[in-house]
Amino acid sequence: MAIATLAALDEVTRPVVEEFLYDEAELLSAWRWDDWLALFVPGARYEVPTFDVDGHSGREAQYFIADDWDLLQARITRMKSKNAHAENPPSHTHRLISNVRLALEGDELAVRANFIVHRMRDGLLDPYVGRYEHRLVLVDGRLRFALRRAVLLTEAVRPGTRLSFIL
């Protein structure tokens, strides 16, 4: 991580956030789970909503993924196990992130970005198209996830929409 220490959220610029997201993508594609989890503040959530939640939160509506801090840690323990059969052998992912926008909201930075994640496994290539809706905070001069949300935008769910990896 080449990011210099930041003094306050209001001095965070788009290139800084882009660098953060690119570094994160590299960790995910390299299967570096502990380093990835270190990008979260304790108590953070990871969410992937379903397609018809119509604005309902993950506490009111069924999501694909609605990890609180406990479940997120359990997910990472699982990812590191050779017995996570759905990801053994691991899929390869290729991640494109663009259209990054930020807005300061109190002591959080609301980050929106577009993504295409290509997942390669079993001789197939599946594109996952969507939008990130993260909430970032500053901890000891570093950006950290308070909420990491990946919203799939495909019109219909496509074959291969298995979320056994991190979107």
Binding site: V48, D52, A61, Q62, Y63, F64, T77, A84, H85, L163
Partner: protein, 426 residues
């Protein structure tokens, strides 16, 4: 078409299923005509359409449908195809409407399906028969049991109660979780498995895979202070290929059966819930609801999991090697928000394409679908067959069906084979 896709000899302890059942387009086409066009099929839950005029489009048995509550409150199901020239009438996934209008020629139907207006009607016969003939086409049959809505495309199908037989009792247990009734929560998990639909049925009816397949989930539970297995569960072979698996202590269940990850607030709520349940229902029924988890399969397309939470899973075959799955979360209507939050967390921890367990089930099904190409056409005895004989000696002796055996899977296959080969009636 083969005379039989199962090779069964109880004396010799043999039960196997020919792998063409999963691979062959001819078998898939045969299933369409013999099963999906003739049986009762699960469509949805009445609570998905709370208000008059609410509708959802849904594909069942390969047919695009409109699932709608008409403006007078009656639940209906129409083919989503204009009776005029065939266009898709509802192109939105869901909505609320007083009228359904086909955009192509602006033919307009009310929510009961009547053709109520069309542009320049003077070029058509003026008698009422014309409009009566060209209303939206309802499916051949629709019946509702405990808010579960079933349809059939078969005018000769037996009444739903007869079709469900003794399986209806277990559907009723889910409806009885709360005197306020049950509702489907917002948010449908829609996903695909690149595998035959019957592999999804087998997987849900097979407790044998639980420990090896879900080892990481069991490790997670253990880390929260809870252990479980599929030992001690009992399967019941119900009428017409329906099956239920019943387990005591298989998992905690939000609302009724505490485990450590539920937390202390839920422990107190569970105690109160159980008291209310045993006061409301007779002891045996209350105990069945509170003390046991259940996995119910309604032949051919409904899996109802009454486990950690309640999940309705709808199977929709797309091709021999592709199945669309829709999973709905069901909850008591009067459940407090913090309990619903817990329910959703507990459900999502296991269930669905992003859960800590279901992805391994999908992996197994897809790995089967890919691998059974290996033996296709190999004429050597038994090579192009799957073995489904676990626990068959117990079955031959008339013993109980254990959920860790394959007796429930065999029950499904006997029914499926009977329908596909034409030796059994619907």
């Amino acid at each position: 078409m083969a005379a039989s896709f199962i090779d069964e000899d109880l004396e010799a302890r043999i039960f196997r299923v020919h792998r063409d059942a999963f691979r062959s387009q001819a078998v898939f086409d045969r299933e369409r005509s013999q099963i999906w066009n003739r049986c009762w099929l699960y469509l949805g839950h009445a609570s998905e359409l709370p208000n008059p005029g609410d509708y959802k489009v849904r594909k069942i048995g390969g047919r695009p449908l409109i699932f709608i509550r008409d403006v007078k409150g009656t639940i209906r199901c129409f083919y989503n195809s204009c009776p005029h020239r065939g266009t898709t009438v509802c192109r939105q996934e869901e909505g609320n409407a007083r009228h359904l209008r086909c955009f192509y020629h602006a033919w307009t139907f009310d929510t009961e399906g009547h053709l109520v207006s069309l542009p320049s009607p003077d070029a058509y016969p003026s008698d009422s028969g014309f409009r009566e003939r060209l209303g939206l086409r309802p499916v051949a049959g629709l019946e509702i049991l405990h808010d579960f809505v079933f349809i059939t495309f078969n005018e000769q199908a037996p009444p739903l109660a007869e079709y469900l037989g003794d399986a209806a009792y277990y559907l009723g247990l889910v409806a009885d979780h709360s005197p306020a009734g049950m509702r489907v929560l917002p948010g449908t998990q829609r996903y695909f498995s690149r595998a035959n639909w019957k592999l999804g049925v087998e997987n849900a009816m097979d407790g044998y895979h639980f420990s090896p397949s879900h080892i990481t989930f069991l490790e997670y539970l253990k880390s929260t202070g809870f252990t479980t297995s599929d030992e001690g569960g009992r399967g019941l072979k119900l009428d017409r290929g329906h099956v239920v698996g019943i387990q005591n202590g298989h998992s905690g269940r939000v609302g009724f059966d505490w485990e450590p990850r539920f937390g202390e607030a839920e422990r107190a709520r569970i105690e109160a819930n159980r008291q209310a349940l045993f006061a409301r229902l007779d002891r045996e029924r209350a105990s069945l609801i509170a003390d046991y988890s259940r996995t119910l399969f309604m032949f051919p397309n409904l899996l109802l999991f009454d486990i950690e939470g309640i999940s309705i899973r709808l199977l929709e075959p797309v091709a021999p090697n592709l199945t669309e799955i829709s999973a709905f979360a069901l909850a008591p209507r009067d459940e407090p928000p913090e309990a619903t939050d817990l329910r959703l967390k507990i459900l999502a921890s296991f269930i669905g394409p992003g859960g800590l367990a279901t992805p391994d089930d999908l992996e197994a099904q897809e790995a089967i679908q890919r691998a059974i190409e290996a033996t296709a056409g190999d004429p050597r005895r038994g090579v192009d067959w799957n073995d489904v004989s676990r626990g068959i000696a117990l079955e031959a002796e008339g013993g109980p069906v254990r959920t860790i055996d394959e007796g429930r899977v065999r029950h499904f296959w006997r029914r499926w084979n009977g329908l596909v080969t034409g030796t059994q009636e619907v």
